[in-house]
Amino acid sequence: MEPLYLKKTVDSPEVILDHQKNIFRISGESRPENAKLFYDVIINWLAAYEKHLFWMKGEFEKKTSIKFEFYLEYFNSTSAKFILDIFKFIDEMQKKDSDIVIYWYYDEIDEDILDSGRELLSLANMQAVFVKK
């Protein structure tokens, strides 16, 4: 399967989902005109990757250790719902014994984004590593 690279735009974040290089990162600002359209691409990729992981495990008994990084400067309330979807996906993968951890980065001068991250994670009943940048 192919990695997913989406360039940062004025209203959408940069997305790198590259299982070959083991980089999983969403960074920037998120207020796309059509949030569903934008996040469906990510969710679909993750769904395909989950299947891929399942086969990897069966064939090689290989367990991949994944750091899923969020470095968002801002996300609007519509995006929040889709970020939650991504969290739920990660949760599913954790339950299937994947070694995947969420890293939530925030700027020293922007504690609001730390708060927003905490809220979303508690809503999903999940843990994350919070990192000040």
Partner: protein, 193 residues
């Protein structure tokens, strides 16, 4: 030639734009916009504010907060606004937005036409979230977010809660009755610094 130039000078102007300008300056308005708030326009207004941020003399964290609240306020216009495309008796399709910086706070004010039927629901919604403590607001935010996921109703309800959590101030509003069918909805947000 000279006579005709003088004629032009003496012709009355159709607009007193200087009065509008002076009022806006006097009110410490940074930016005001009248028109259609589509995604491209919203992006332009936001990019413009980003450029202005460095010259504002307020801290970056405050400016960032103002920016985030500005996004939700601008997107909120589109969520409630009635459009001439559907209701052709609406007095105007245009909405208005302004952001001002006074001595103690930033102010964001928006105005747009809504259906008279929406007034009660919207007023109740704002009154409810205005009465919540911060802890309860966050609880409510989570509930609405979870509900909207279930109903697949993306966008509705969460924007105003998000604004109030970020401002830490109650939302001020007015509904001006225009006719039996339409009201003019004013939302004013204060962000202290």
């Amino acid at each position: 030639m000279i006579t005709s130039d003088l004629d032009n000078i003496n012709k009355p102007l159709s607009f007193d734009i200087h009065r509008l300008y002076a009022t806006m300056i006097e009110q410490s308005i940074i930016t005001a916009f009248l028109g259609d708030f589509d995604h491209t326009t919203i992006t332009t207004l936001l990019e413009n504010f980003k450029k202005r941020m460095s010259s504002l003399e307020t801290s970056t964290s405050i400016n960032k907060r103002v920016y985030k609240i500005m996004v939700e306020c601008l997107e909120n216009i589109g969520r409630h606004k009635v459009s001439k495309l559907i209701y052709n008796e609406v007095p105007s399709d245009s909405a208005i937005f302004l952001i001002a910086k006074k001595e103690d706070a930033f102010y964001i004010s928006t105005g747009n036409y809504i259906n008279a039927e929406q007034v009660k629901t919207l007023q109740k919604k704002i009154d409810t979230i205005n009465s919540f403590t911060k802890v309860n607001l966050k609880k409510h935010y989570k509930q609405v977010l979870a509900q909207s996921k279930q109903n697949n109703n993306v966008g509705a309800g969460i924007g105003l809660i998000d604004i109030i959590i970020k401002t830490d101030n109650p939302l001020k509003y007015r509904f001006l009755t225009i006719s039996d069918q339409y009201s003019f909805f004013i939302l004013e947000v204060t962000i202290n610094y």
